[in-house]
């Protein structure tokens, strides 16, 4: 083991991984190259496309912009961790039902990002979902399907857990002035 390497313990999808890593290894590379969880994709490696989105303690981040060592002691969720005992996560099922993908390359990032979005305070409208999902680029143009999938999943999850606070938040419903600008 190189002198520069450090022992890093990562909690990913409920499992513990202990890895000897150069401290400069990104979380994305740790997931893909060292652990073999290749569901998370490397689209640009510069934090510009969102294909590498993972959840860290329920919050979505670009894993290419985070070093693996920075995420010790946190609960990391990748796309592989969304399913529950062989059952698809509701968001995954919604993406299939409402056709939220074409080539599939951005899809893992879109789904994880969408799950993260549901944990955030965001407005109820389609435009709010569009705004919240704009960190995940889709060159195939599956955006309309993605928005539909997120909205239907959000409604379904809200129906099945009515005691949980919804992700609707009054302050996000303030209309942005430029949305309605006309001559």
């Amino acid at each position: 083991m190189d002198d520069n390497f450090v022992q890093v313990t990562l909690h990913i999808n409920g499992q513990e991984y202990v890895l000897p890593l150069d401290p400069r290894v990104t979380l994305l590379d740790a997931l893909r190259e060292y652990i073999g969880l290749t569901g998370t994709k490397k689209g640009c490696d510069h934090g510009q496309c969102g294909a590498c989105t993972v959840l860290v303690d329920g919050r979505r981040i670009d894993s290419c912009l985070s070093f693996a060592v920075m995420n010790e002691g946190k609960a990391i969720t990748t796309v592989e961790g969304l399913e529950n005992d062989g059952q698809l996560h509701p968001m995954q099922a919604a993406f299939i039902e409402y056709d939220g993908f074409q080539c599939g390359y951005c899809t893992a990032g879109q789904i994880v990002s969408a799950v993260g979005l549901l944990n955030e305070a965001s407005g109820p409208s389609d435009d709010d979902v569009r705004e919240g999902m704009s960190g995940n680029i889709c060159r195939c143009g599956a955006y309309p399907g993605i928005v539909e999938a997120v909205q239907h999943c959000r409604a379904a999850m809200h129906r099945s857990r009515p005691s949980q606070p919804s992700s609707y938040s009054p302050q996000s419903s303030i209309e942005k002035a430029d949305d309605d600008a006309t001559l």
Partner: protein, 244 residues
């Protein structure tokens, strides 16, 4: 059956069209070969029958006038001690293709909002109708249209390669600086097909779907900007500075 395909133009949008013709030819040829094998083996219930007297359906070959005289595909192969059957066919464009143009066609209807102070253009509504012959898979074909329309929105309003004119080097060679549409840039899109089965293109009546979504998209947006502002912008993308 293992179909072999050779086309001398790599042309993804017409794949379904050429494949449809080629598959049809290969299946016809395979059917004829199966019937021939069924009718020429002495142990076959169809021994001595001609091609015209039998019909191929539901994985069996049977006599048209007597359903009792039939044999399954697998039994035909067993009789001839074969594991598989292979045919090779070739399909050429015929004289019909010289008489008709067989292109897909689309119409785009766009509403834009242009900010009076900043010149920012936003597409707020999009409706488009397309004729691409018979649609084999509605879901994926509609997705293809939507994707093409979104490419067109990017082409009209956002995408631009910026070069260093001294040496040709591309200056915005990453996703942060070469702007492609993000989710917030795209409104509800209502894209649909007007299905018209084109009998001249091929046996299935299919036409290209791959590129038709983009053709006309940027033009419709530019026309909408003209309608909103009175300004004809003749270079793409239509950025804020061109409208101020």
């Amino acid at each position: 059956m293992r179909p072999f395909k050779y086309i001398h133009v790599t042309d993804a949008p017409t794949a379904i069209t050429t494949l449809a013709s080629e598959r049809q030819a290969a299946c016809t040829s395979l059917g004829e070969k199966l019937v021939s094998l069924a009718c020429t083996h002495p142990s076959s219930p169809l021994f001595g029958s001609s091609q015209q007297q039998v019909v191929v359906e539901n994985s069996i070959v049977r006599r048209k006038d007597d359903e009792e005289h039939c044999i399954s595909y697998t039994d035909i192969l067993h009789l001839h001690q074969r594991d598989m059957l292979e045919v090779m066919t070739q399909v050429q464009p015929d004289t019909e293709s010289k008489k008709y143009t067989c292109y897909s066609f689309g119409s785009h209807f766009v509403e834009v909002h242009v900010h009076p102070y900043s010149g920012e253009v936003r597409v707020t509504r999009y409706v488009a109708a397309f004729d691409a012959g018979r649609i084999v898979n509605q879901k994926t074909a509609c997705s293809q249209l939507t994707g093409g329309i979104i490419w067109g929105i990017g082409m009209a309003l956002e995408e631009q390669v910026i070069r260093d004119e001294r040496n040709g080097r591309i200056l915005n060679a990453d996703l942060a600086e070469y702007h492609v549409p993000v989710n917030r840039d795209i409104p509800d899109i209502d894209a649909f097909f007007v299905e018209e089965h084109d009998p001249h293109m091929n046996i299935l009546g299919t036409k290209s779907v791959g590129e038709i979504g983009t053709v006309g998209s940027a033009a419709a947006i530019a026309n909408a900007v003209y309608h909103a502002t009175g300004k004809r912008i003749r270079t793409l993308p239509i950025t804020l500075d061109k409208l101020l």
